[in-house]
Symmetry: C2
Subunit: 267 residues, 2 copies
């Protein structure tokens, strides 16, 4: 079992990843596809006059400030635009893809954080009216049922709060929780960078491997989205996943190459 997460930054190659996923699905490799949609959400939010805002937590993690209106735009883009676009690509390639959010069947469940602490100009303030949370439970029943029927689940944030509210959950960590819950061997986190870089502006500084016991130290060194990917990687390994590969979605056969260990292999 493989869980493949495709990020939503500008420049990710959706077509290349879908073509590879279709080939794996046709080889009957059981897999779950998780995706993001951050860049497209920013664009639509801007066009609709409610531009995206981001906050940084005291521990250094960046996240989208998700008020109710942002949540609804987020759902439009993640569940409507990106999810159905991926399902369509897979269906056109003959794969029986089924797109779901973590809200559907409460696939991804966790507590809603109605307020969060954010650092602004060096000071911590409390932000209220947030619709966010972290996946604490993956309800695998529906996924297993789909997999056994030969379908490829294509999963997207939001998740569900314990009260059934939609909550913005991080896609990398949700993919990690899904991989752990399904007992997957491998989790691929593909985006628009070659992997974990020592110098984020120099692709030649790729770390080809990170050992499990180095993860925390490396996490302290990196910034931005990579920090949360490494948190997801740590959570996946702690949940029993054997190998996490942080790799590139761009170029030929990105999924195959990541499976072959191209990128940063964490085990």
């Amino acid at each position: 079992m493989i869980v493949i997460k495709l990020g939503g930054s500008a420049g990710v190659d959706v077509d290349a990843v879908c073509a590879d996923v279709a080939a794996l699905a046709q080889d009957r490799v059981p897999l779950v596809f998780v995706h993001g949609g951050s860049h497209a959400t920013n664009e639509v939010a801007q066009a609709l006059g409610h531009p995206a805002r981001f906050v940084t937590s005291p521990s250094g993690y960046e996240s989208r400030l998700t008020d109710r209106k942002t949540l609804e735009i987020f759902e439009m883009v993640y569940c409507g635009s990106v999810n159905k676009g991926i399902v369509e690509r897979l269906q056109r390639a003959g794969v029986d893809a089924v797109g779901l959010s973590g809200l559907d069947g409460r696939l991804w469940e966790g507590k809603r954080k109605k307020a969060l602490r954010a650092v602004e100009n060096g000071r911590v303030r409390v932000v209220r009216d947030t619709w966010t949370g972290t996946v604490e439970r993956v309800r695998t029943g529906l996924l297993t049922m789909l997999l056994e029927a030969g379908c490829v689940p294509v999963l997207s944030p939001p998740g569900a709060s314990e009260d059934g509210e939609a909550i913005n959950v991080d896609g990398d960590r949700a993919a990690a929780a899904t991989a752990a819950a399904l007992g997957a061997d491998t989790l691929l986190l593909l985006s628009n960078v070659p992997g974990v870089l020592r110098d984020k502006d120099d692709p030649s500084t790729l770390r080809s491997e990170i050992a499990r016991d180095e993860l925390e130290a490396v996490r302290d060194e990196v910034g931005g989205r990579m920090k949360i990917k490494l948190l997801g990687a740590a959570e996946a390994l702690a949940g029993g996943v054997k190998r996490v590969v942080i790799g590139d979605s761009r170029g030929e056969a990105p999924v195959r190459r990541a499976l072959d260990g191209k990128g940063t292999v964490i085990a």
Copy 2:
């Protein structure tokens, strides 16, 4: 088995319908929920600078002119905004709702019409680059699996072409095809009118019943959205559905009232 279709015109009462659907689901009545999203799509299309256009076929049916960009906006609103909004309402009411489009698992499959004939200023012209079609097959396997697992499927256009492309399909007719394929007893078509009116501007002219053999004659008399609802009703009855009720989504207990025969009962 009941199939409930909630229209997407301005003024439909989503909360009232969801509350009623939740009560039925808790009474373990097997049901499938289908929804539209036309009005919200028009608003988002306008805000994104690609306003909605509609065409009328030579036989008098109005439909959304769906070029590729319109299809993508349509998916955002139907699959992202409206679908997840309904799933969230049902989940908050304790119902295990699962939202899917007709593209997922190719639930609603039909041929893509890449061009269609439209009447404009009394003349017929051909419109190309359209992403539309009509549901010809409902793949009930996935729906049956979800129903047996105690879930309430919440279904939305688009459907899937035979090549796996997303196609804009009419929600009323898709609901009718779904009801027929699942062997449902009853199909409810709920919107923002009391039912089929003799004079569309006078609610006191409600037809409380239409016999099966009167349907075609009544269809010639009505216009706009009602024409296609009556076509859907005819298709449902021809497919073995025992009773179609065209009713109002507004007011208290709209689903219960429609089940009790309030509105226009077609059998």
